[in-house]
């Protein structure tokens, strides 16, 4: 068998939309095979995934809540990947943001909400940004590989927070390893009754708009794209590589940090070690499925929120292991990278 690839002009906008749809279809088919292997009923399993995530007002709002951190980590990954800066550290950056949120939320600042919340948002952004700044700086200054560096920092941050929660921050009242509860003024307001639908969901959409403008309408966004698509042209074209990468890594980490802020200030109200079921890693798949497009991130974050929320219900009802959602995440990445081939190439298979 021989596979021949012929270059051709990129697909039109509607063709580009078909690519993630194709990737989703592949991952649905493949995960259905796994459901059969786990002796589950395929129709029943997908029924529970959709009903469990979209079936009622409450579950729909829960899905939107799960979508929020995914939008932030998805944006974080998409702007970084656009410049071929492989930030795999969104999980650690999320926890750094969560740490800052909890620290600032516990402090008895006696502030009104409208000052306390912006302070926490800025603090969380800076904490997450600082953690990503380090690998960005090490990359441009010492040529240290950012993939390894960001991944190792994930482990470092999560272990250090574990030490903090087992030690100085252990909640004395409950004895559980979680931080004390944040003040009322630090909690993000709930926007819909009888739910956890919070201000962070709105903030996520605002972040999408800001990132869109940043990427499409500013020189900075243009520079990022050039660095990603043609580094030597960027270099000879006089784009400040050093400054752009460092600033980009900071913004990317900051966005991931905001995901952590939302989880602390709107969901848990304290810092715990299992705050995130891997939102940082899901962000990579979110960004890829959106083909790094900020608007697309909303849709792919919604898709993965459905999978994460729905698979919990599905697993409880059918006994199919919950790890199916991690497999779907992996297959979505693999099938999307495969589908992107069709954007630029005509694929001919000769037998």
């Amino acid at each position: 068998m021989k596979i021949a690839l012929k270059r051709r002009s990129p697909l039109s906008w509607w063709g580009k939309i078909l690519l993630p749809i194709g990737a989703i279809l592949i991952s649905v088919i493949f995960s259905s095979l796994l459901i059969i292997w786990a002796k589950g009923n395929v129709v029943e399993a997908w029924y529970y995934i959709f009903v469990g995530s979209l079936g009622s007002r409450f579950t729909f709002l829960e899905t939107l809540i799960k979508m929020t951190p995914l939008i932030f980590t998805g944006l974080a990954a998409s702007i970084a990947f656009k410049a071929k800066f492989w930030n795999i550290g969104a999980e650690g950056q999320l926890y750094a943001g969560a740490f800052a949120a909890a620290a600032l939320g516990i402090l008895p600042l006696n502030m009104p909400s409208y000052l306390h919340i912006p302070l926490i948002l800025i603090g969380g952004f800076i904490a997450g940004g600082a953690l990503a700044f380090l690998p960005g700086y090490l990359k441009v200054k010492y040529k240290v590989d950012e993939i390894v560096c960001t991944i190792l920092l994930n482990y470092i941050v999560i272990y250090l927070l574990g030490a903090l929660l087992d030690g100085p921050w252990r909640d004395l009242k409950s004895g559980w390893p979680h931080s004390p509860i944040i003040h009322e003024s630090a909690k993000l307001p709930i926007l819909a009754s009888r739910s956890r639908f919070h201000l962070g969901v709105v903030l996520a959409f605002i972040a999408v708009a800001i990132v869109y403008v940043l990427m499409e309408k500013t020189i900075f966004g243009y520079q990022i794209k050039i660095i990603g698509s043609n580094p030597s042209a960027a270099y000879f074209g006089g784009i400040p590589l050093y400054r752009t990468i460092v600033l980009l890594s900071f913004i990317s980490g900051g966005l991931a940090g905001l995901a952590g802020v939302c989880e602390v200030c709107a969901i848990q109200y304290y810092l715990v070690n299992d705050l995130s079921p891997g939102y940082g890693f899901f962000g990579i798949a979110v960004a890829m499925l959106a083909n790094m497009n900020p608007i697309g991130v909303v849709f792919s974050a919604f898709y993965f929120a459905v999978i994460i929320t729905g698979s919990q219900v599905m697993s409880r009802m059918t006994g199919v292991p919950i790890y199916l959602n991690e497999i779907i995440q992996g297959i979505a990445l693999l099938s999307m990278v495969l589908m992107l081939l069709f954007d630029r190439y005509k694929v001919q298979i000769k037998l």
Binding site: W86, Y159, A163, Y323, Q329, L333, L338
Partner: protein, 314 residues
């Protein structure tokens, strides 16, 4: 009998544990080396080690504690994953970062998924009877060194043989020349009549075998069981170690031993029950790796075709 004996006992147990902890990392690092030498970055390594650990464990369990069958099966599972990577990255020339990450998520999820299907939710994780240690005659009688180096299980010796063999293959045989040429200049290799695709495929399959083997060593010789999250990022560490080892087998082995020594040190300290949160000790190997990467970064010279797909048509 005094404090000296105590220190000597600590040193022996620490250093011999270092060798054991290093072994799976040596396999993983050399396996990754075979990928990068032909120009393919394998970010699937973390998941590949987990799936190697699972397959090795399950096969050993099913065959009535046949450890060697488990090890080989773990290796084959690693080869199969590298074969997928080869199809994506070599045949189709797709993005190696995304393919690798996708493979890691896929393998990790699949391993836990299979464990839940096959083993379920046991209160205590089922274990296997691990390898017995083999004392090398004469050498194991050397004071100190003997008990550190020559009283290990057989797979440990295999790891060192693989390092020597890899150095020989890569720098003393025509196969090694082909591998290095493909990694440095695929166009020149093609012109010289070397089948770039075949060399890449074979190198990846063999490298994947070693990575899977390294994973199965974790479940079969370190933990004697399959524990969720048992690799704890050691696959990612292998990526760093290839850089630290400057893409040379012996240097990679030294880098792996360095990491294993720190890893075993923090485990020993945990066992001593000193008054420190254990997480502060767990952090040590990761911090050490980042510092080492910064120090080594100046001379880092990766194979020239790393990350670059080769397409004849263009």
């Amino acid at each position: 009998m005094g404090i000296e004996n105590y220190i000597i006992a600590f040193l022996i147990s620490w250093l011999s544990a270092s060798i054991r902890m290093s072994t799976s990392i040596i396999f993983g690092t050399i396996g990754e080396l075979y990928h990068e030498k032909v120009g393919v970055l394998n970010l699937g390594i973390e998941g590949q080690m987990i799936i190697g650990a699972l397959v090795g464990f399950l096969v050993t369990k099913i065959t009535g504690n046949n450890l060697w069958l488990g090890v080989v099966a773990g290796g084959i599972s690693g080869s199969l994953i590298s074969l997928i990577l080869a199809f994506f990255a070599v045949s189709l020339g797709l993005n190696q970062h995304v393919t690798g990450l996708g493979l890691t998520f896929f393998c990790t999820g699949l391993s836990y998924f299979i464990y839940r299907i096959e083993i379920g939710f046991p209160k205590v994780h089922p274990t296997i009877e691990s390898f017995s240690t083999i004392s090398v005659p004469i050498f194991s009688k050397i004071p100190l060194l003997g008990s550190i180096l020559f009283q290990q299980c057989s797979l440990v010796y295999v790891a060192f043989v693989i390092v020597a063999l890899s150095s020989f293959i890569l720098y003393r045989t025509s196969w090694g020349l082909r591998i290095r040429t493909v990694g440095e200049n695929p166009t020149a290799a093609d012109t010289a009549g070397i089948n770039v695709f075949k060399v890449r495929y074979l190198s990846l399959i063999w490298g994947g075998f070693l990575i899977g083997l390294g994973g199965s060593f974790m479940s079969l010789a370190i933990f004697n069981s399959f524990i969720f999250g048992l690799t704890a990022g050691r696959g990612w560490i292998c990526l760093a170690l290839v850089v630290l080892g400057k893409w040379k087998p012996w240097s990679c082995m030294i880098a792996a031993l360095f990491f294993g020594t720190i890893d075993a040190f923090q485990l020993r300290l945990q066992a001593l029950n000193i008054n420190l949160p254990y997480q502060l000790l767990l952090v040590l190997p990761y911090v050490a790796t980042i510092i080492a990467l910064i120090l080594a970064s100046k001379q880092a010279m990766s194979p020239a075709s790393l990350l670059k797909p080769y397409r004849r048509e263009e």
